[in-house]
């Protein structure tokens, strides 16, 4: 479904992502693991059009995504959540999800209000998404008043409102306590069971190993391993990266 080949990004002389290949099949729950600064978020930024790759190809359902705007990539069915939460703080939870449906409308539809009869189906969809993400009791609160754990849910709800085929999650568990993390893992499993393909970025090794059926490990921008949880767990390079063994970096 998503094919990445030879993807690289350099900032000045530094290679943040170095010649990475990935293949994510439909319905997969794919994990990208790596210590901080290993290029995970840079990779996501390229996949979602926020950064232009220095080299390489990104194909989604056969379409080339390199050079496309973030907006058109969302339209193609690739949604993401951010590690650092970004949303409009003066809007309510419901409005935030509602705004993310804009791409299902023509320009004329943008002039409709929330209560217009023609918008009823979309409003019902918002309700369903809020229910799925545990936000329904908080629907009319301002987004900035949400406790941190629910803010993460709002990011997911907003991504779902764009009706994605694939969801890219950037460290969704960061800052969560263990019980919130377990809840999130259940939610991710349910989203996948609903037919969504998911790529998860994490540095929390336990979470990725416990959730994902295929895992790629990045270190210093390079993919050092890929395989099932068991394969990755026993890979000597991965162990070295995570235990912090000093290794000479091969700069291009």
């Amino acid at each position: 479904m998503l094919e990445v080949s030879g993807l690289s990004k350099s900032f000045g002389g530094l290679l943040a992502v170095d010649n990475v290949d990935l293949g994510v099949g439909k319905g997969a729950l794919f994990g990208i693991l790596g210590p901080n600064g290993s290029g995970k978020t840079t990779l996501f930024n390229m996949l979602t059009g926020f950064l232009e790759p220095s080299a390489g190809q990104i194909r989604f359902e056969g379409r080339d995504l390199v050079g496309k705007s973030p907006e058109s990539i969302v339209r193609a069915g690739v949604a993401r959540t951010f590690q650092v939460v970004r949303f409009h703080k003066e809007s309510t939870v419901r409005e935030t999800v509602w705004a993310a449906q804009s791409l299902h409308l023509g320009f004329g539809g943008m002039f409709r209000t929330m209560k217009s009869p023609s918008q009823r189906d979309l409003a019902a969809e918002v309700d369903r998404i809020l229910e799925k993400t545990w936000l329904e009791p908080h629907a009319d609160r301002l987004a900035r008043e949400l406790p941190f754990g629910l803010v993460r849910q709002l990011e997911i709800a907003r991504a779902l409102a764009t009706r994605p085929k694939i969801l890219l999650m950037d460290e969704p568990a960061s800052g969560m306590n263990p019980s919130e993390t377990r809840q999130l893992m259940d939610d991710i499993r349910r989203l996948r069971a609903d037919g969504l393909t998911i790529i998860l970025i994490e540095h929390d090794i336990e979470m990725v190993l416990g959730l994902c059926d295929r895992i790629a490990v990045l270190n210093f921008g390079r993919k050092i391993a890929e395989g099932s949880a068991d394969e990755v767990k026993n890979n000597s390079d991965v162990i070295a990266a995570y235990l912090g063994t000093k290794k000479k970096r091969a700069h291009a």
């Binding site: 926020f50 705004a99 539809g109 002039f111 764009t162």
Partner: protein
């Protein structure tokens, strides 16, 4: 003393009514400033074009007021479209000062060309802007509400209400508010950011066009320097009220209207602008965020 109090009240009321035109101009600045952090210095061109389109529609074509104002808004809106396509779009990835300088260039270019046309050709014969409400009015005791001022306030109020519905009730408005805070938020939700911004330029320019019509009608005159004056008054109103907020633009515009007429009445017409500017200084020293300004929670 009694007559003085009557005159003072009359002047204040006139100022409030007339100030609604300044509020309309300031709203145009505020929308673009809030969304893009660009001072759209070409905004005055929309006022001037709206004024001349309105004047021609009324004097040459003899169209009624309500048609003329729609024509003025359309003409202003077209200028806004040009500003978007010429000054903003090609330069949107440049430093934030670059589009502003482009709007400055657009302003000077259009105004100079317009003045040449105006002084060499036939516009001179048509500068008188017909005022269908001339002489009309409502008397309340000793106070007279001028008909054209009432109409001005009514039009401005309608446009403000429409703007509030658009911004706080529709998806387009929500998209604008979100883009105002962070363009990437819009992008990642698939909001067509470019189209929303074009809509904002059209909207602010249409409001400029309407302001141009009302300014011309109440003055019975269409002048080629109306755009420059509108830039000064609009920016003044925006900053006086509180940059970046729509309520601020309204409060600022009405305050400027009152201030100008009161200083003409109490001192002299020729010191009007100087006194208004002095008042702006005082307000900004006491309240740096403007009269109705907040400490930037929301950007439009």
């Amino acid at each position: 003393m009694y007559f003085f109090a009557i005159d003072l009240t009359q002047t204040t009321i006139d100022g409030l009514l007339f100030g609604s035109t300044y509020a309309l101009v300031a709203i145009g600045f505020t929308l673009i400033w809030g969304l893009l952090r660009i001072l759209n210095l070409a905004h005055g061109v929309t006022v001037m074009v709206g004024m001349f389109a309105g004047m021609l529609s009324a004097s040459v074509a003899g169209l009624p007021f309500y048609v003329g104002i729609v024509i003025a808004m359309a003409a202003g809106g077209f200028v806004g479209f040009l500003i978007d396509r010429i000054c903003y779009r090609p330069l949107r990835n440049a430093h934030e000062l670059v589009p502003m300088i482009a709007t400055l260039g657009f302003w000077i270019l259009i105004e100079e060309v317009f003045i040449k046309i105006y002084s060499h050709f036939w516009f001179r014969d048509y500068v008188a802007f017909p005022n269908p409400f001339d002489g009309m009015g409502i008397d309340i005791g000793q106070i007279r509400l001028r008909g054209d001022y009432i109409v001005t306030l009514a039009v401005a109020a309608l446009l403000v209400i429409a703007l509030y519905i658009l911004i706080y009730r529709t998806r387009l408005g929500l998209a604008m508010r979100m883009i105002a805070e962070d363009h990437d938020i819009g992008n990642l939700m698939g909001v067509p950011v470019g189209k929303v911004l074009t809509a904002a330029f059209l909207l602010s320019a249409a409001y400029g066009g309407a302001a141009g019509y009302l300014l011309g009608m109440t003055a019975n005159l269409a002048g080629p320097y109306a755009g420059s004056q509108a830039v000064v008054k609009g920016l003044f109103s925006m900053i006086l009220g509180g940059a970046g907020s729509i309520p601020g633009a309204i409060v600022g515009g009405l305050s400027l209207g009152v201030l100008e007429l009161l200083s003409s009445f109490l001192f002299s017409f020729s010191y009007r602008d100087a006194i208004a500017m002095l008042a702006l200084f005082v307000v900004l020293i006491v309240r740096p965020q403007g009269i109705a300004g907040k400490r930037l929670p929301d950007r439009i």
